[in-house]
Amino acid sequence: MINATASTHHAAPTEGAFPSRGRVGMCCLIATEAALFSIFVAAYLFYIGKSLHGPYPAQVLEVPMLPTICLLASSATIMLAERTLRQGYRVLFSGWWCLTILLGGAFLYATAVEWYRLIFTHHLTISTNLFGTTFYSLVGFHAMHVTVGLLLLTLVLVLSVSGYVSQAHSERVEALSLYWHFVDVVWIVVFLVVYIIGR
């Protein structure tokens, strides 16, 4: 017999037995983006060594240690930000959150500097050869995701500084920080593929 009880609360998960929608949704997004990145990585790996002429990776690539450290550190700071928000410290949250954005911004700046060097000093563009094509598309696609992430983080920062973000929003902030962690993990893969394996 069907029980006519249970909640009439609109769209809430019943009994809390289910995972949160935000977390599941973000995980799905991460899965699909991971599939997207893996195709660009596959193209990069496939075309290693196949360029008909230079410039070649070993000639022009420098291992970006500092930007990588910045990005990985930003993952740490965003975790700290999350924790402080869950505990209710809103000002501290804004602080750590802002630091995350700055570190992410530093990473993007370093990428821009590297690209400037590659394009104007070494004359490597997306149409120069297969290395240029796969490098700019893979690194650029990642940088695009960092940019989008930074925009969203900035939006949250603005809301937080204006006083709209509170402990109750920690789950939504967690979803965003999941995205940021994903961006970081992708960078680790890109770093390995482009600067270690591909050189």
Partner: protein, 559 residues
């Protein structure tokens, strides 16, 4: 507790007196999964008609050798648009529409997890279709070449590179599918989240209707299968506009890379299209056999296997490109392997019917047609899986016959079954059984007449995508028969349209449960109110309504 005592909510309040503009506005801004589902389905059906028209023109051209109904360029655009339309603008919207409408009702939820994302996904889909068709009007490029895309629905490189496809026609193909792909992914994220997070009380994963299980697997597949296409299309755009070299063979690029990426998407895509058809059959066949689905766990397991294996068979579309014997053998193996869970499903449907009391209502007729035709499709699939046999059959009309048996004989038949089955629920009216029978039989005759002979055409060496052929190859009679079938199919669709229009205006009232079925959507009114259920249900078995109707022999005693 007798069924008649079950509480029913009042139907949706009469809105017919509202001004038309207000009604339209309501539809445009809606985030209600039922309305979005209906809009998806209507979009799909409109594009289905357009794609059918394109096919009819092609079949008219091919009815006779050296026929000149259309110029070669036009024919090439027709088959490109036909394939693209049917897969992306009919197939995907229809299945997402069915999922949209039915999944929340079947799991006892009030809506999807992210209603606004749902609306976003729909409008992206619609826009992508409009963008693709705008190419007929706006595709002229600088060199004045081409209108609609003419590169085939899988757009092999380097034919799609700037050098060989001038103008913007290919770009319309790329952009419209990019946009549509994002819409599909958005809806899939929604679907997975809904199924995992919003089931009603008591509905464990093991108690979900099979329809929901299959659509969950489909949604997960879309999440993983769509990105390869998106990525490849971005790469192609970069090639065409920024001079990138992804598929530029003169710069060392690989034409095969496109094929790999496309088919890593393309093969799961055809399972994505077909599984919802299986889902509908898995709901309809039990109800009209009056027995529960035989082997629920096996069906779930088979579906998940199909989902996994389908990501590993893609290169069977590439058997002729000159891969190594090892690669060819591997993909032959994986392709043959996927036949096993598919066969298990067919056997389970058979076993569901066996020992039952089969009612031959129109939905069941379409399901039976599906079973026969999908069996043929699967068997020709096994033939194609045997690589050396495929070396002869691929890229010929045999393959065209195979996939139309899958997509029309399989998918379209189950879609029509689903339409006849759930139309009463969505509209509150019953479709005519007589017109339904006319629809069914005309379609069976027309479909088999068109695509049966095409198997022989492939065997006789007729390649696909040719706008004409010379006499003296032995192809004339078979092509003529194939083209004749179009008439029957067109008539069948007209009967369906007539049936729908007639039912909407003067069809018999359906009531909540016209088919004496067992899943949650039949516990609410027809059509359901905006909030779906007056109170959210609680279930104890896979067939909650069976438990209500048979309180002395409920399912949960046997599961």
């Amino acid at each position: 507790m007798a069924f008649a005592d079950y509480p029913t909510a009042q139907p949706h309040s009469d809105v017919r007196h509202l001004p038309l503009l207000v009604q339209l506005h309501d539809w445009v801004v809606t985030v209600d999964h039922k309305r979005l589902g209906l809009m998806y389905i209507c979009t799909g059906l409109v594009f289905f008609a357009v794609g059918g028209l394109e096919a009819s023109i092609m079949r008219w051209q091919l009815a006779f050798p050296s026929h000149d109904v259309v110029a070669p360029e036009v024919f090439n655009r027709l088959f490109t648009m036909h394939g693209t339309t049917m897969v992306f603008l009919f197939g995907m919207p229809i299945i997402l529409g069915m999922a949209n409408y039915l999944v929340p009702l079947m799991i006892g939820a009030r809506d999807l997890a992210f209603p606004r994302l749902n609306a976003f996904g729909f409008w992206l889909s619609l826009f992508s279709g409009l963008l693709l068709y705008f190419s007929y009007l706006g595709g002229e490029g600088l060199s004045g070449a081409g209108t609609a895309p003419d590169v085939g629905w899988f757009a092999y490189a380097p034919l799609t590179e700037r050098a060989f496809s001038r103008g913007y026609s290919t770009d319309y193909w790329i952009l419209s599918l990019l946009v549509g792909g994002i819409g599909s992914v958005a809806t899939s994220i929604n679907m997975v989240t809904t199924v995992l997070c919003m089931r009603c009380k008591g509905m464990t994963l093991a108690r979900m209707p099979l329809f929901v299980w299959l659509l969950l697997v489909v949604a997960v597949m879309i999440l993983f299968a769509m990105p390869p296409l998106t990525a490849a299309q971005v790469m192609l755009l970069l090639d065409r506009y920024l001079g990138a070299r992804f598929f530029d063979t003169q710069a060392g690029g690989s034409a095969l890379l496109w094929q790999h990426f496309f088919w890593i998407f393309g093969h799961p895509e055809v399972y994505i299209l077909m599984l919802p058809g299986f889902a509908a059959a898995s709901e309809i066949i039990p109800v009209f056999s009056r027995k529960p689905m035989f082997g629920y766990a096996a069906m779930v397991g088979a579906t998940i296997s199909i989902g996994f294996i389908s990501m590993g068979v893609w290169a069977h579309h590439m058997f002729a490109v000159g891969m190594s014997a090892t690669a060819n053998s591997f993909f032959a193996a994986s392709t043959m392997l996927i036949a096993v869970p598919t066969g298990i499903k067919i056997f389970n449907w058979l076993a569901t019917m066996y020992g039952g009391k089969i009612r031959f209502a129109t939905p069941m007729l379409f399901c039976i047609g599906f079973l026969f035709q999908f069996l043929c499709a699967g068997l020709t699939g096994i033939m194609l899986a045997a690589t050396p046999f495929d070396w002869q059959l691929t890229d010929s009309y045999f393959v065209v016959a195979h996939f139309h048996y899958v997509l029309i004989g399989g998918l379209l038949f189950t879609i029509f079954a689903a339409m006849y089955y759930w139309f009463p629920k969505a509209t509150g009216r019953r479709l005519s059984e007589t017109l339904g029978r006319w629809h069914f039989w005309l379609l069976v005759i027309g479909f088999n007449l068109t695509f049966g002979p095409q198997h022989l055409l492939g065997i006789l060496g007729m390649p696909r995508r040719i706008y004409t052929y010379a006499p003296g190859r032995g192809w004339e009679l078979l092509n003529l028969l194939s083209s004749l079938g179009v008439v029957f199919q067109a008539l069948a669709v007209l009967f369906f349209v007539w049936n729908v229009i007639r039912a909407l205006r003067q069809g018999a009232l359906a009531g909540d449960d016209p088919w004496d079925a067992w899943t949650l959507e039949w516990t609410t009114t027809s059509p359901p109110p905006e909030y779906n259920f007056e109170t959210l249900p609680e279930v104890r078995s896979r067939r909650p309504l069976w438990d209500v109707k048979h309180p002395y022999d409920p399912d949960w005693r046997h599961e």
